[in-house]
Symmetry: C2
DNA sequence: TATTGTTATACTCTATAACTATA
DNA sequence: TATAGTTATAGAGTATAACAATA
């Protein structure tokens, strides 16, 4: 009888323990942990290519749009224009892109991928694909696609803005 | 005839454009964007409660484990012990937790939530729930649960470590 | 000698303010 | 007057090194 009560008590305590809000169930924690791990994998896989994850972002943006000033890229990348200067400096020094003044508005720098930049971008994308596959190694293809879809929907504005 | 060829060419170009690897499809980009937005929502919702997102993490850990030194919490939170000092300073000053030397090992500080700390934690969790619901407003309950499950599986080690 | 908490210091990342050259 | 790029500076956030107390 006492044993039964004791067991019931312990079970109730165990449930109560489980009901405690846990850090590991918080969405911020899960997103951050996935992101940190993915950034680590990118650092590994991108190192031999010679670009950082942030730089890959710049290359992707330059590849995706035809005419682009530093400030346009900065805006799309979500960084300040002053931060952009250093990024472009590094990529220009590595000969992955070229700056030239815009003929129409000579205050602007038009950024353009060099042939070498295009080649490095292709390599970097393959490296990034590998990093992503490694992060998603526990999921099958359908689940991976689901995760991507759900994240895309989450980060989209409600009214198609 | 020429028009047809032109249209076909433009369509091919459009497809080619779509085939370009885009930043917006990169998992790092999606995760970061979701995280930044969720952190912003937390900042809003947690402000009236008087804790930061990082501090909520500490409170959740203190609530989840029974006996905890500063260094244990730091380890679980993924920050340096020197970073932990400032976090604990702030929470102690706000009377949400108390430091006391461990009787068994007087080098250690045992951290304990105060009654006030428990109350604030409950408030903060409700605020965090709201922030999460707002982020997930485009998803139904099943999809939200799916996202959480997929992220949990992604951040788990393969062999149940 | 090793460990916990602490402080001082340095490093990274990023933004704000100020300057230049263009418009 | 306003804007694009640049530079210098300052502010978070975090880690490394050194120190005191304790083991």
């Amino acid at each position: 009888m006492l044993l039964t009560i004791t067991i019931m008590y312990l079970q109730r305590m165990a449930r109560k323990q489980d009901e405690r809000p846990a850090l590991s169930t918080r969405l911020t924690y899960l997103l951050k942990r996935a992101l940190v791990e993915l950034e680590g994998l990118h650092a590994e896989h991108l190192a031999p290519v010679g670009v950082s994850g942030r730089e890959l972002g710049v290359l992707l943006l330059l590849n995706g749009f035809d005419t682009t000033s530093q400030q346009q890229v900065a805006g799309r990348l979500g960084v300040d224009r002053t931060t952009m200067v250093g990024l472009v400096d590094a990529l220009e020094e590595k000969r992955f892109l070229a700056r030239r003044p815009d003929a129409g508005d000579r205050r602007r720098n038009v950024l353009e991928l060099t042939p070498n930049g295009h080649a490095v971008l292709a390599q970097a994308v393959r490296a990034s694909d590998q990093a992503e596959r490694q992060l998603l190694s526990q999921l099958d293809d359908k689940e991976s696609a689901q995760l991507r879809t759900l994240l895309t929907r989450v980060t989209q504005e409600p009214s198609g803005v």
